[in-house]
């Protein structure tokens, strides 16, 4: 489904990604792990077209993603969450999720200005956004602005907003950061549940090892922008290079 082929990204002198390749199959949850600065977020930004790749190709169901613009990604069925939150702080939680459904709508400037035939789509979008908030246990906060809510709550809002685009491929950047142990378990359940409910493939970046190993079908480990291991969780966990990278003894 997703084929990352030999992708490199350079920022001036820094090589954030260095010939990275991996694949994800339909319906898989793929964990992407690696120490801080390994290039995980950079990979996300390449897929969602915020960054350009210096070399390489990214194929998504046969489409060359690098020839698509950032705003065209959602239409292809790709949605993401952000590591450091990229919400719309002045909007309510409900509105945030409704913006998430932007790519599903068709009302343009003319129809919006005249407000002709927009009522039905708006009502449906609102209803669906409400359902998604409920699905992530945020419905009681629906009419609160996003600004000022706890980090863990906003992390869940990011997931609800991403799902509003009705994606078939969801990228989550450290969804468990800032959560307590109990909440992490709950989040694992939520991710599996939405994967089944929305028939998603998932690319998951996470430092919480127990969680990644627990829910991933496969794991890609990277360090300094390069892949150091790829495979089922049990193999990757026991890989010498991965252990070394995490213990910090790697050269």
């Amino acid at each position: 489904m997703l084929e990352v082929q030999d992708v490199s990204v350079r920022f001036g002198g820094i090589i954030a990604l260095d010939g990275l390749s991996f694949t994800i199959d339909e319906g898989q949850i793929c964990g992407l792990i690696g120490p801080n600065g390994a290039g995980k977020t950079t990979m996300f930004n390449v897929i969602s077209r915020i960054y350009d790749a210096t070399t390489g190709r990214v194929l998504f169901r046969g489409t060359d993603l690098l020839s698509v613009q950032a705003h065209g990604i959602a239409k292809l069925g790709i949605a993401r969450t952000f590591q450091n939150l990229a919400l719309f702080p002045t909007m309510t939680l409900l509105e945030n999720v409704m913006v998430g459904g932007y790519s599903q709508g068709t009302d343009g400037f003319w129809r919006s200005t005249l407000r002709l035939g927009t009522a039905k789509a708006e009502r449906e979008l609102r209803d669906e956004a409400g359902d998604l908030l409920r699905s992530l246990q945020l419905d009681h906060l629906a009419f609160r602005p996003a600004a000022g809510l706890p980090f863990g709550t906003l992390k869940r809002l990011e997931i609800a907003r991403a799902l509003a685009a009705r994606p078939t491929f969801l990228l989550m950047d450290e969804p468990a950061s800032g959560l307590t142990h109990g909440e992490v378990d709950e989040l694992s359940e939520t991710i599996k549940r939405v994967r089944d409910e929305f028939k998603l493939s998932v690319l998951l970046v996470e430092h919480h090892m127990a969680m990644v190993m627990g829910i991933s079908d496969k794991v890609v480990a990277m360090e300094f922008g390069r892949k150091i291991a790829e495979g089922v969780p049990a193999d990757v966990r026991n890989d010498d290079k991965v252990i070394a990278a995490y213990l910090g003894t790697s050269a």
């Binding site: 915020i50 409900l94 709508g105 699905s135 945020l138 009681h140 906060l141």
Partner: protein, 385 residues
């Protein structure tokens, strides 16, 4: 079940503030009363006011339309413009020139003004894509600075005079405002007054509709977080340039109205000072609120008018203060002080006060299709809010 933060569900029901469900009969009563009161005031003024009062209200409408235009761009989309006086001037010049020299129908000159302003606004939106905040402010500032020079060249070469005549828009016969002689002045004032009210109403409805739609949400999303908006599928280039164009086009209608009202105008009629006036009016009333720019413009205009006619007589002011441009000075001080006290402007201030008495509660979400067991296990962190 659901823990709501609305004061309504917390134990014993509190009497105040009273919740009013959105779109409930009571909410509609309030809405209808609000609209009826405003309409009654507008009609009363239209029927009874003197030509000079009518002229003042029309002038306030012009300011309000420009502020509404700026609110769409700056308040909702987060793009600052100090160049909106240029759009007002462009449409005024287009109207004055085509009506006086090409003998165009004044209403076609309105269409022309709107189209020209949209195109110029769209073009200005292009560099705006790469610029943010103070840099965008500088570019639009430059446009406002250049306009008088361009206008002067135009007057010299095309008009061959140092000013352009107004369009002398006269009321069509079906309005019945066709008196001759000394009542003609009143009739014309009444007609322009209604033109102002209608154009302001149209501008308001356009911005309101946009705001309450899919596009409006995307405008605010772009303002709040561009990257996230793009990932949600919002085409930043398209959205920002079209918004700039629409805002400029709305400002153009204000310019057309100016050309209909003024006897003559020239290169000094639409300067950067006008742009600053639009900004002050917007922030006085409350940016990013629908009524803010209108309330702000009227408050600004009539405060300005009052200070101009009274402040010079305030001999109790120390020193030579009452001799200088005291009105502008006081006005600036008052607006700044007010925005300091009420950062969300007059509308934000009134809303805050009203919320102590009534709270409009949003329409509830669609109930769960199948009651989920998860509903009872809310995470701890959200319970206390």
């Amino acid at each position: 079940m659901t823990t709501t933060m609305q004061s309504t569900s917390a134990g014993a029901p509190k009497a105040w503030p009273r919740p009013i469900p959105d779109s409930s009969p009571l909410h509609w009563v309030f809405r209808v009363i609000g609209v009826a009161v405003i309409a009654a005031i507008a009609i009363y003024i239209g029927l009874n006011a003197t030509p000079s009062t009518l002229g003042n209200v029309t002038e306030a409408c012009i300011l309000a339309i420009a502020a509404v235009a700026l609110n769409l761009l700056l308040g909702f989309n987060g793009q600052i413009s100090i160049g909106h006086s240029t759009f007002v001037g462009l449409a005024a010049f287009a109207a004055g020139y085509t009506v006086n020299f090409w003998h165009w129908n004044a209403y076609w000159s309105l269409v022309l003004g709107i189209v020209l302003c949209f195109l110029l606004g769209f073009a200005l939106g292009l560099p705006a894509l790469r610029l943010k905040g103070p840099y965008l402010a500088l570019v639009t500032l430059a446009v406002a600075f250049v306009w008088p020079t361009v206008a002067k060249k135009f007057l010299e070469q095309k008009v061959k005079k140092n000013s352009l005549k107004g369009t002398h828009l006269s009321p069509p016969t079906w309005t019945g405002l066709v008196s001759k002689g000394k009542d003609a002045r009143l009739d014309k004032a009444i007609f322009l007054y209604w033109c102002g009210i209608i154009l302001l109403l149209v501008a308001y409805v356009v911005v309101r509709n946009l705001r309450k739609s899919r596009i409006g949400r995307s405008l605010v999303a772009v303002r709040d977080n561009e990257t996230a908006a793009a990932v949600m599928g919002v085409n930043l280039k398209f959205t920002k340039t079209i918004t700039f164009g629409i805002s400029a086009a709305i400002a153009g209608t204000a310019g057309w109205l100016s050309a209909a009202r003024l006897d003559v105008f020239n290169d000094t009629s639409f300067t950067i000072l006008n742009s600053i006036k639009y900004l002050l009016a917007l922030f006085l009333g409350g940016a990013a609120t629908l009524l803010g720019p209108i309330v702000g413009a009227f408050a600004y205009f009539f405060l300005d008018d009052y200070l101009r006619s009274h402040a010079p007589h305030w001999t109790w002011l120390p020193g030579q203060l009452s001799k200088g441009p005291i009105a502008s000075f006081l006005l600036g001080a008052i607006v700044i002080a007010f925005v300091f006290i009420a950062p969300f402007g007059l509308v934000g201030f009134v809303k805050d006060q009203a919320r102590r008495v009534f709270i409009v509660t949003p329409r509830p979400l669609r109930p769960a299709l199948t009651p989920s067991a998860l509903d009872d296990e809310r995470p701890e962190e959200s319970k206390g809010e």
